[in-house]
């Protein structure tokens, strides 16, 4: 009897201990960002802040180029997402619902590039951007982000598209709709959750990307958050950890919003993204 009562309690305690250990770095990030500088270097550290301050956030927004980095990242991730999802939706529709030569090859190529390491492409892309005279611009980064975002989006959208029954489209065609009409009126509404999921994934991928930004952009005016915040770490004489943790929290804000309101779209993307085994 007692063992029956005890089992769920032990299970909960074990699980939650692990979950809290996993979340500890995130908790510590927030705690550090709220501690005054003097409290930061106390040995041993205070596990909860004795005084809570928002001075680091204030300094981050007023005294550092953080807001410019943030704006660059918003432009970069949004443009990449719109571009890639628009191309990907048409491409996925074609790959799933049409029969033409080279279709299978194309699908395999998409999967192959989905797995390709960025460092293979980075050297030629760097040369290409220099040659085109667009290195050090946000546009060059949008193009570069397409290299990983497009295969990803295509693959995800393809799986979502496969989940829409053929009958729906066929019924519309029998009723006299054209292929594109059926696409707009039947497929697109059905695909919408998939499109949202893909868009979120693409946005997060682009928001978090570091290597291309490191190689293709070296001026502070076009740097996105990833490289911009890292230069704040490297260029400082004594590293201001509270400031960096405040930057980390601010950088994760879009993610926190997605997590709070749209998490089901993220998990549904997982089922579609090649791990359906």
């Amino acid at each position: 009897m007692t063992s029956k009562m005890l089992r769920p309690i032990i299970l909960n305690v074990v699980t939650w201990t692990l979950v809290l250990m996993i979340s500890f770095p995130l908790f510590w990030m927030i705690v550090t960002s709220l501690k005054p500088q003097t409290e930061l270097f106390r040995i041993p550290p205070t596990w909860l802040p004795e005084t809570v301050t928002f001075e680091h956030y204030w300094r981050l927004l007023t005294e550092t180029p953080f807001l410019r980095f943030f704006r660059n990242s918003v432009v970069l991730a949004t443009s990449t997402t719109v571009f890639v999802v628009a191309l990907g939706t048409l491409g996925a529709y074609s790959l799933v619902r049409f029969r033409f030569r080279g279709r299978e090859t194309m699908a395999m190529l998409v999967l192959f590039t989905y797995l390709l390491p960025s460092v293979v492409l980075i050297i030629p892309l760097y040369l290409m951007m220099v040659w085109l005279g667009i290195s050090n611009t946000l546009f060059s980064l949008i193009l570069a982000h397409t290299t990983f975002a497009l295969p990803y989006a295509l693959w995800l959208l393809r799986s979502f598209m496969e989940g829409i029954p053929d009958d729906l489209e066929n019924a519309a065609l029998v009723d006299g709709a054209s292929r594109l009409g059926a696409f707009k009126d039947v497929i697109l509404p059905q695909l919408l959750p998939g499109i949202i999921s893909t868009a979120l994934f693409t946005f997060i991928l682009s928001w978090n990307e570091y290597l291309y930004a490191l190689v293709l952009v070296n001026s502070e005016s076009v740097a996105p958050l990833t490289t911009g915040v890292m230069t704040m770490l490297i260029s400082a004489f004594n590293i201001e950890w509270s400031l960096l943790m405040a930057a980390s929290v601010m950088m994760s804000v879009p993610l926190i919003i997605v997590f709070a309101f749209l998490q089901s779209y993220l998990t549904s993307g997982f089922g579609a993204g090649g791990v359906k085994g």
Binding site: I22, S118, V119, I122, V215
Partner: protein, 304 residues
């Protein structure tokens, strides 16, 4: 009857099918153009560049034939980086699988605030690598880091450890952060599969008198086998090519102890300014990965 008789013998597709095929090609054309420009062309260019010797700042160079490849195969750098990459991949992947499957099993149970627990576990995976690295470098800090102090307070160590500046700690540190960042992928994929295992399989095992461990081995594991194969292949590929996390945590150091192949390519191209040699390394790296990629592609092709 008459319609059948008058129908011409059908050779190939009908006009409607042909026009559909044209539309299909038209719809995918923009994708193909972008694909060729930003992926296929650079991929071929990387192979082309690998037979030149190019000085990065001026981008001038000359044809050197297979020299870069000879250097790659005979010099020790490529092989030691490959070895480092394998240690990192095997180390972090094993931890990801163990913790991923373990937590998926726990989170599959009926625990308090299950969806909150799932969100918290999921979060590191979507977090920017830059953020993850900043937080972990602060945790690893030898003087003020929470990790050292936590471990000292718990009595695990007496003296603060130098986490990222010495070996083997640096490799352990990188593997740990990699596991923390990427194990949620395994959790989500396994959790999704666990939900589809029919409950009556467990019922039957229970009637046969199987305990929890036996049920796991005889019912759960066989059901997870196929999804685990896919996860391991996919994560092996992604861990093998990981750049951001290792580069930002250690920069490949101390010296070159954590310099994986991705870091080697970057260092050669933009640190040592030998772009041709770097291209050769990247082609070599891709050839090593190709084995896993083909395995994964064949597997996925079989399913669809």
């Amino acid at each position: 009857m008459t319609t059948i008789a008058t129908d011409p013998p059908r050779n190939g597709p009908s006009p409607l099918e042909r026009s559909y095929a044209r539309l299909g090609v038209l719809l995918i054309a923009p994708t193909i153009v972008v694909f060729s420009a930003v992926i296929v062309y650079p991929l071929l260019a990387a192979i082309y560049l690998s037979v030149f010797s190019i000085y990065t700042p001026t981008l001038e160079g000359e044809f050197v034939g297979a020299d870069n490849y000879v250097k790659m195969l005979t010099g020790g750098v490529f092989w030691s980086s490959l070895w480092t990459t394998l240690i990192w991949t095997v180390g972090t992947l094993s931890l990801q699988i163990i913790f991923g499957v373990g937590l998926a099993l726990l989170l599959h149970q009926n625990i308090w605030f299950r969806s909150l627990a799932r969100s918290l576990v999921l979060f590191p995976y979507f977090l920017s690598t830059v953020v993850a690295v900043l937080v972990w470098r602060w945790l690893f800090n030898d003087l003020y880091g929470a990790l050292n102090h936590g471990m000292m307070q718990a009595g695990i160590i007496d003296m603060p450890l130098d986490w990222l500046g010495s070996m083997p700690n640096a490799m352990i540190g990188v593997i740990l952060v990699g596991a923390w960042k990427y194990f949620p992928f395994v959790v989500i994929a396994v959790l999704a599969r666990l939900q589809t295992i029919p409950e009556n399989l467990y019922e039957a095992a229970r009637i046969d008198g199987a305990g929890p461990v036996a049920r796991f081995i005889d019912v759960t594991l066989p059901q997870l086998k196929s999804v685990l194969t896919v996860i391991i292949l996919l994560r092996a590929i992604w861990d093998f090519k990981e750049f951001d996390l290792i580069f930002l945590l250690t920069g490949g150091g101390p010296v070159t102890s954590t310099q994986t192949l991705s870091l080697l390519v970057y260092q050669e191209a933009f640190g040592l300014n030998r772009m041709g040699q770097a291209a050769a390394y990247s082609v070599g790296m891709m050839l090593v990965m190709l084995v896993f990629m083909i395995l994964y592609i064949r597997r996925t092709g079989k399913e669809s």
